[in-house]
């Protein structure tokens, strides 16, 4: 077991206070030997240019920045910090490509998307390794979730490309033009797929900016666009930080803006483009409630809670970060949950047995540490299993807080890390009230054996997705998006086409 010795607190950054209790497995007899995924087949270039007009071009900007492996802090490659001229080139290329792409027979557009989907599958091992090295997520997740879902998304929207008039009967769907898309670092390739696939299927062209800390899978995707012989300019990818992103969304020739990321940045985008006539969809933060009733299948609920908050180190906008448990079963449920936490394997993200990988960046780690400290100060009780954190890289042990009040920061703010806040409730009404008592509304989970209660709860939850007896389950055909400060617009399903079409 990876989890053996007492954790050194200076690495976790969490001060050791008397309120921290620790548990762990008593006896270790079955050590899993390292089982690292091979990285020999992956070629990461030392420097990347920008993908504009169908090829990798030298940028105007002279500035570059490194992208590192958060598990080792070693440099993987250098990417361009694209400037105004670069962004303008990219938007011009997309604008130039728009007419012929929009006029292309829909079945031919579909063919390109099918081809991209197949190439994603063919290069899935390579993409999984790149995603894990650049972002820190466990290889089992990039291999089994990120990459297959990305390919599935292109496959799904390829099917819509020649059926748009059936998607919106008696309307005349038309593409909008150039879509400016800015995506986050938690699911780099998957968010790219969520953005690019519906845009292209609907006949738009795109300029996409991947997140500053995770640009590499987008660079591999650029190669895939070339391999698929996608017409030049249909997809353009510019790298950079927040400044580059704001240049993309505020460019006058961009007709549609799609952003996934923090609520704070989402608000600033909305302010920046107000009055410009650009269409906007935002997929922002969340503070989802995972609600466990006293008749729930407990062992599976524990798995759902673990999947809900510790999947991808909690870097998930729809993470089930607030556990609402019916008071009558809180004790046995927490006992099971704590035992389960002690079996989570934290370590090398490339190891096939790793459950918890590295935190994406130092900045994110500091944010998590700050919020966890606030939880301790406000009086919540922190539990972490005994857990060895690697010496290099950014790590945070799976954590849960009990004795949490609705008013604590850890119950209100999005932590975006492997930290669960546990609250209790007595009646279904109280559960609904507490679950909805948040500025966010992206997702929720309900665990009960009673079918009627699932429907009763789903009707009352102000959340874009309500999962019943499961969590974090995705399918390209299912729309995803938020209420309130979690954003607006839907991605996935037929709903996901709507933001990219003008319906006459």
């Amino acid at each position: 077991m990876a989890i053996t010795k007492k954790q050194s607190t200076d690495l976790s950054g969490v001060p050791t206070k008397s309120k921290i209790s620790r548990g762990g497995l008593a006896k270790q007899v079955f050590e899993y030997a390292p089982a690292p995924e091979s990285i020999d087949h992956v070629k990461i270039q030392p420097r990347y240019g920008l993908f504009i007009g169908g090829r990798m071009v030298e940028p105007h900007s002279k500035k570059r920045f490194p992208t590192i492996n958060p598990a080792t802090e070693s440099k993987l490659a250098e990417v361009v910090d694209a400037d105004e001229v670069d962004v303008d080139h990219a938007v011009k290329a997309a604008d130039k490509a728009f007419d012929s792409w929009a006029r292309l027979s829909p079945s031919r557009r579909a063919r390109y998307l099918f081809r991209i989907s197949r190439l994603l599958q063919e290069r899935s091992r390579e993409l999984a390794v790149v995603e894990t090295m650049d972002g820190g997520k466990p290889i089992k997740e990039s291999r089994d979730v990120d990459i297959p879902l990305s390919a599935a998304h292109f496959f799904y929207y390829a099917g819509w490309a020649d059926k748009l008039e059936w998607a919106f009967p008696n309307r005349k769907p038309r593409p909008l033009g150039v879509a400016g898309q800015v995506i986050p670092w938690n699911f780099p390739l998957l968010m790219l797929a969520w953005k690019i696939a519906p845009a292209l299927a609907a006949g738009n062209t795109v300029v996409l900016k991947p997140a500053e800390t995770t640009p590499l899978s987008a660079m591999v995707f650029a190669e895939i666009c070339m391999q698929a012989e996608l017409p030049p300019g249909v997809v353009n990818i510019v790298t950079g930080a927040g400044k580059t992103g704001s240049l993309v969304v505020s460019h006058p020739d961009v007709k549609k803006v799609a952003f996934t990321g923090s609520t704070e940045v989402g608000k600033s985008i909305q302010r920046a483009i107000a009055g410009s006539g650009k269409r906007l969809t935002l997929e922002l933060g969340g503070k989802a409630a995972n609600i466990v009733f006293d008749d729930a299948p407990l062992d599976q609920a524990v798995e759902g809670i673990v999947n809900g908050i510790y999947f991808n180190q909690g870097h998930v906008c729809c993470a089930g970060s607030r556990l609402l448990v019916q008071e009558s079963i809180a004790e046995p449920l927490l006992e099971k949950l704590k035992r389960r936490l002690s079996t989570l394997r934290l370590g090398d993200p490339l190891d096939k047995n790793t459950d918890i990988g590295a935190i994406n960046s130092r900045a994110q780690l500091e944010k998590i540490q700050g919020l966890v400290e606030s939880g301790i100060e406000e009086g919540a009780e922190l539990y972490q299993p005994e857990c060895v954190l690697p010496a290099r890289g950014f790590w945070f042990p799976p954590s849960l807080f009990t004795n949490v009040s609705q008013s604590y920061r850890i119950a209100r703010e999005e932590i975006f890390g492997p930290v669960l806040s546990v609250l209790t409730f007595r009646t279904p009404n109280e559960a609904v009230e507490k679950a909805n008592n948040t500025p966010y509304g992206l997702s929720a989970g309900v665990w009960t054996d009673k079918g009627s209660r699932i429907l009763w709860m789903a009707e009352r939850m102000r959340a874009g997705v309500v999962w019943a007896n499961t969590f974090n389950r995705f399918d390209p055909s299912s729309p995803f998006g938020g209420y309130k400060e979690s954003g607006f617009g839907r991605e996935g399903g037929v709903h996901g086409l709507l933001p990219y079409l003008e319906l006459n």
Partner: protein, 307 residues
């Protein structure tokens, strides 16, 4: 020793058994099956698989000769290789116990006998009790009984419970493994109920299947049974063992059960006292994989004896 439960208590016990979500249990078992067990940990696991094995023959055609050969294999799984441990036990029909006694005298290999109208369990309780007593007298250290699925499925939990209590008493010093025959129970909820019932009635082990019904042992069923054991131990403090049987033919499958045990019940269950794998054809594949790990090359099946 379990104290007998009255009808009302038993009813409330069964009603209080928590439900199992099928999708979630399947997912968890599938996730654990993806654990990658390599090199030193693989060798350790393969060695444990041998030590936890109940080498089994349950055919109408079993003869003293067949059983003698199996006993030899049980004691020394690989001819000329003393580093391979003996298996935990042999598992035979009651009439073959005497043959085992003769061949296994003075060894660590236990003798397990099926009993109680194996495999259907559709016979009279006194006959089942008598069969158990005779099997123990003949020299069985362990009794693998079947539950009366007819009674269980018709909701007559009392009958199932009483029968297990009676057989347990007839076992005397012998260990009792209770076969649930999960392939006939239909749902994971029923598997969980049957597990709790058998443990409450005094089972030392709960066991998935007879091997005569498909599906036999599956990973999700094993997970549900292990989670039941975990909850039972938490409630009562009495540890109960787990035995998977039927359909386990490859070392890879065996390792998946070990991983499941490790991550569900913990290291204390990684011992033949609490974990068994019942199999007739698994052993040679495990031996072949051990050789492969040690030498880096697969040997021809001709180097592994078929007994």
């Amino acid at each position: 020793m379990a104290t007998a439960l009255s009808l009302t208590h038993l009813g409330s016990l069964m009603r209080g058994v928590r439900s199992v979500d099928e999708v979630g249990a399947d997912e968890r078992a599938a996730a654990l099956a993806k654990r990658s067990i390599k090199k030193s940990s693989k060798l350790w696991a393969l060695d444990l698989a041998v030590r936890c094995m109940d080498l089994t023959t349950l055919e109408g055609a079993d003869t003293p000769g067949k059983v003698a050969a199996m006993c030899a294999k049980a004691m020394r799984p690989k001819a000329g290789d003393a580093t391979i441990p003996s298996v935990a036990a042999v598992c035979v029909y009651p009439l073959r116990i005497a043959d085992c006694v003769e061949h296994l005298r003075g060894t660590t290999v236990r003798i397990a006998s099926v009993a109680t109208a194996f495999p259907s369990g559709q016979s009279f309780t006194p006959i089942k009790v008598e069969e158990t007593e005779q099997a123990v007298r003949a020299g069985a250290h362990e009794i693998d009984m079947v539950i009366d699925r007819g009674a269980f499925l018709s909701g007559d939990y009392q009958r199932v419970y009483d029968e297990i209590v009676a057989v347990k008493e007839a076992c005397g010093p012998a260990h009792l493994k209770v076969i649930l025959e999960t392939g006939e129970l239909g749902t994971y909820d029923a598997v969980r109920r049957a597990s709790i019932l058998a443990m409450a009635a005094g089972a030392d082990f709960i066991k998935t299947s007879t091997g005569k019904v498909q599906p036999a042992a599956t990973l999700p069923v094993a997970l549900v049974m292990m989670e039941s054991i975990r909850d039972f131990v938490r409630e009562t403090g009495r540890p109960v063992g787990f035995k998977a049987a039927g359909g386990i033919r490859t070392a890879k499958q065996a390792i998946a059960y070990l991983v499941l045990t490790y991550e569900t019940l913990g290291p204390d269950w990684m011992t033949p006292d609490r974990l068994r794998l019942g199999a007739s054809t698994l052993l040679n594949d495990v031996l072949m994989q051990i050789d492969k790990e040690r030498t880096g090359a697969y040997q021809s099946p001709d180097y592994f004896t078929i007994d």
